[in-house]
């Protein structure tokens, strides 16, 4: 499913809204998540999962094709951790958490 299909499905379920409104709703949600991550905040959505950011230190990398060394500067990457309920749904209602 891509964003436009998501918007189309929601518009179908909500005939009183314009497709344009539904698009704004989806974008408002995604922008709010992105802005939160840009501030370094965490986004927790029960039943789905949680987004957070992790810092990656600067390192010396290598161009895999040429073998040249390149310096990779410090950066922040977004990470997503699947929530418990979602994990169970993916596995037919059984919690697969390793170690449990």
């Amino acid at each position: 499913m891509i964003k436009s299909e998501l918007v189309a499905r929601l518009a179908e379920q909500n005939p009183h809204l314009y497709q344009r409104d539904v698009e704004n709703i989806v974008n408002a949600i995604l922008d709010t998540i992105a802005d939160a991550l840009a501030r370094g905040d965490r986004v927790e959505l029960r039943g789905f999962g949680a987004f957070s950011v992790k810092r990656r230190d600067a390192r010396t990398g290598r161009n895999p094709r040429t073998g040249e060394t390149v310096s990779v500067s410090q950066k922040v990457v977004p990470v997503f951790k699947t929530g418990k309920e979602m994990r169970m749904r993916l596995n037919g209602g059984v919690d697969d958490q390793v170690g449990k």
């Binding site: 909500n14 995604l30 979602m86 596995n91």
Partner: protein
């Protein structure tokens, strides 16, 4: 880094501010969006959200794991996991830049 946690309530507030629906309806729509995403992924379908990222369901085979505390070997059953691949746009935004690398 701050350490605030953003939740459904904040997403509803953003929808309320931006779209001009009632607070109740904004909350219901945030719920509907999440439900649609979760249902789709539960069916094993990939969800691609342009300029945000994609969610992919991967099937993992069985492997032997080990309880790190006791050292006892335990089989890890085949299972499905959800992975998020952030788009370059999102990565750039989080690093304070404008566009992707």
């Amino acid at each position: 880094m701050a350490g605030r946690t953003v939740t459904r309530a904040d997403l509803s507030e953003a929808v309320y501010q931006r779209v001009g629906l009632s607070r109740t309806e904004s909350a219901a729509l945030v719920e509907a969006v999440l439900k649609e995403l979760c249902d789709c992924l539960a069916r094993g379908e990939t969800v691609k959200l342009s300029s945000f990222g994609s969610f992919v369901v991967r099937s993992k085979g069985e492997r032997i794991g080990r309880n790190p505390k006791t050292g006892v070997e335990v089989p890890i059953e085949p299972r499905r996991v959800l992975v998020f691949k952030p788009s370059n746009v999102l990565k750039a935004r989080i690093n304070g830049g404008g566009e992707g690398e």
